[in-house]
Symmetry: C4
Subunit: 303 residues, 4 copies
């Protein structure tokens, strides 16, 4: 199919046809503590599955990254950064990017602005203490960016956000106080709908074979590769890092590398590239102003 | 299989074997505003996914329509018509049909008759202002036509409805005050069960690869083509217009065009064709009287 | 695989290797009236999908049955029998069996014993009036047989029940007052989990291609054919009778007929065959006493 | 793919490349009694499906185990042990392992410590009476091990636990009072997400063809085989023991046996092997201390 389906893709470094960022959200037990509170310490089974992320999956994923020479970007709630310092050190030490992912996986849009700011600062502090550097990027837990998030990220000097789903290529978010690069993904690149069946999170879904999940992720890559887009996974170590799925992920990377002309990068590198293009006037991205709505839509009638 | 499974298919123009209407419901953020009210402005992530519809997907779908020379029919809530005027102008300007889809995606059967009328009139007004013409067709949000909808559509001079699932070919709805062409579809031609996983709408479903969704849509087409039926998609730009899925949609159109003898038309064109057949006595459609029931069924016992 | 996995299959007529009963539950709008009460008359969209059953699907299924020379068994709530007399007449007139399926699809185990008896009698009456004969078989709506159902069925002279899932071959239910042939099926032979996505019934499931559903149904047949079992579908006209799925059903029947040595029969014929075997001492079925439990299980601790 | 993805796999007996334990949870009607209490005796349909487990499926699975010469491990709630003594005798008599699975399938983490102890002791007693030996292993119903479970298992002399999902190879649980071998599995090796659609348990999922489920289970085996891991199914006789699925299970075992160098063992044998390696200093497993958390995580903010 030779029809051009993507408007205004950015030029990628070295003439690459698309950019690929292997990104993971390392939530560990934050999910169970946030949702179940006092009951969480007694949820040993679910916790064991979640701890598999930092304990088993991340070292495996780091090994895969080394073997295929591709960088990872891992978004980590501050509480997890402090709870799993070795895991963070391993990642940072091998040059992978550590991004901000809240404190205990709180959904920003369920918090007051003051509480959202508290969470943001505390998460920055945790990452800075663990890695020696402030995070450059942010991903809102559960895609739940609030009306305030953009403004707060700009104020704290973040280079990019990775929470939204509004395009197939990078775009700019204009917020109170300044702008931010948005590096969007899509629910189709999240591993949760492919693999997660956990009563603790009200997820009664079929679990699909790694090859079925790869059909979904590969179709997204093939399209991005044909049209010059951006492929950003929203994987989770405790999900996609399980043994058989990690093998399938290797197969996916091999598929991407065989396709050729792919720029594998961290999200911060992509954001930096985009910012450079914009500064040098080499590419004009689409812009969206945040928040989208300053007030609820007035209903015409009330159901 | 040579067994004839479809009674009384209408003759299609030019001896075509079946009719195909590529229809979309462009709901944009109406879904989140209706359901989440005051919380909606803070739901930036979900909103970004929904805005992808008018911003990114519709222009892409229009391009596909141009490339394959097939018309689209797009049902748009009035609030979306007013919120995304450029998108509506683009569609109307290229000859695609704009249909009525409520004001803010309200389910008619959750409204009082007066409120339903208010919504209907306001939606007509929005479309008329944007396109210079009243809509000819209507699709109830969420398939939720009420007992009053038929009567109201007749009173407002609609040519057809596209909300029901009662047949594989067009039929007539007899309502208080007059009749209406019904152009039915089926849940199997909705893209939501194939692709949507969004906590904001309590949709915890697996997301399937474009090729798996196409298996479903293609099977429906193949059957319609063999038996003389009508294929009416109920797609959504923010869902089926994502890059990899749009590619798969191109493949589906190519499959249809390769099958040959397919009449690609807008819904208004199909309704006009059907009305003409009926007026000229060239085809006698099945008729259903609306509403189906004037009162609840008296229970024999109470569980 | 030559391992024998089925104990004590009955001898089938003519040396057939397995028995196949194509059974359908024709619920029509009973589902929406039972569940939604006063709101049901306003649920036109869902109703149109449900009415497709008696109006469009059943005539189509009858035609398929004729073409392939296989009998159908259709369980119909009494209210539907009275609401769709032509559909019932069509089925009965072509020799298909009409079975009992409650009055308005009430789950027996949500009713008092007196109410369950009322429903049973009223359903018998409806079928007797429509067909001139009392039903010989019963299927509880939603597999929800109560502790009383067996006793009531025996008292009313039913020959068999088709509500349970306790074996791969017929067995006997010993109830207060007498015995009954049980002709079991399995959830895997229900078309609902394959195809139904309807918010009105809280079914947020993916819809699968007909070929994917056939993988499930065919695997069950192949196993039954290899091992001498019983294949009893729990299909619904409004679901499996849609055009593309009806085509796939034709393919399934062709697959069965190509396998050879299959006894296609109504459920009443199968029950009669089984009863004859038992009476003549030619086969000794497994027996289960109903109800399974006379009282709740005393909990050891209370969660 | 030659990349090594598994750290520190244990040496398996006879130089086998991986260990396989075919394990089942035989819950029978405990599920319905626990969840539905007084309503359970009236739930005949669901009960018939659940009873299929001990009545039909277990003898079939035992036959398969004999034919392929592979041992089974079956976890059985004490109430089921007492309710289905013949089934337990059959299994124990053929050398299969009977493991502890609560009394009535209570989730330990919903019980007080005293109640959890009561359940544990009563389950031990039931198994000891039925088999003449105390159980050596335990699997918490619904993966719901509590903060107390490990301590209790150690106190009662259990050799291993099979409730967790924290690794791909055995590891040690350090609990108050001593240690325990953990033989972990994964949700991907549970048959419930593949096959169960039962309203009684709020499971509205598609049912997949046996071959689709086998894709999932086989991928896990292939990975374990390549990397030296442990494959532990969490199947249920009433689910995976149905006829067509049992056939597919035979196919899976054939696939495993064809792969070669697989150690098929009971869980107790695997735990014994692991304990021996540790005692003899031939392998140093990873260790996790239980419980993971002594108190809830203090939230930074409150959503």
């Amino acid at each position: 199919m030779s029809l051009d389906l993507l408007d205004n893709p950015p030029p990628w470094p070295g003439g690459a046809r698309c950019a690929v960022a292997l990104t993971f959200d390392m939530d560990a037990e934050s999910l169970v503590h946030l949702r179940h509170g006092a009951a969480a310490p007694g949820m040993i089974g679910a916790s064991s599955a979640l701890r598999y992320g930092p304990r088993i999956a991340v070292p495996r994923l780091a090994r895969i990254a080394r073997a295929y020479d591709v960088p990872l970007t891992v978004y980590i709630p501050g509480w997890c950064v402090e709870t799993y310092p070795d895991t963070v050190r391993l990642l940072a030490g091998e040059g992978h990017e550590i991004g901000h992912h809240g404190w205990l996986h709180e959904r920003p849009n369920t918090l007051s602005p003051a509480d959202e700011a508290t969470v943001l600062l505390r998460g920055i502090e945790a990452i800075e203490q663990a890695t020696g550097a402030r995070p450059r990027g942010y991903r809102a837990p559960a895609y739940a960016m609030s009306a305030e998030t953009g403004r707060l990220l700009v104020a704290e000097g973040f280079a990019y956000d990775a929470s939204l789903l509004g395009d197939d290529v990078p775009y700019m978010l204009d917020c109170a106080g300044g702008s931010l690069v948005e590096l969007p993904s899509d629910y189709a690149l999240d591993d949760w709908p492919q693999y997660v069946h956990m009563g603790e999170f009200s997820m009664a879904m079929p679990i699909r074979a790694p090859e079925r999940a790869m059909e979904v992720f590969r179709a997204e890559f093939d399209a991005a590769h044909r049209h010059g887009g951006l492929w950003v996974s929203v994987f989770h170590p405790f999900v996609s890092g399980r043994l058989a799925r990690a093998e399938a992920l290797c197969g996916l990377i091999e598929h991407m590398q065989a396709a050729g002309d792919v720029w594998f990068a961290t999200m911060a590198e992509i954001a930096g590239h985009v910012a450079g293009l914009v500064e040098r006037g080499e590419w004009t991205p689409r812009r969206e102003a945040l928040p989208f709505w300053s007030a609820p839509v007035e209903p015409l009638v009330t159901p």
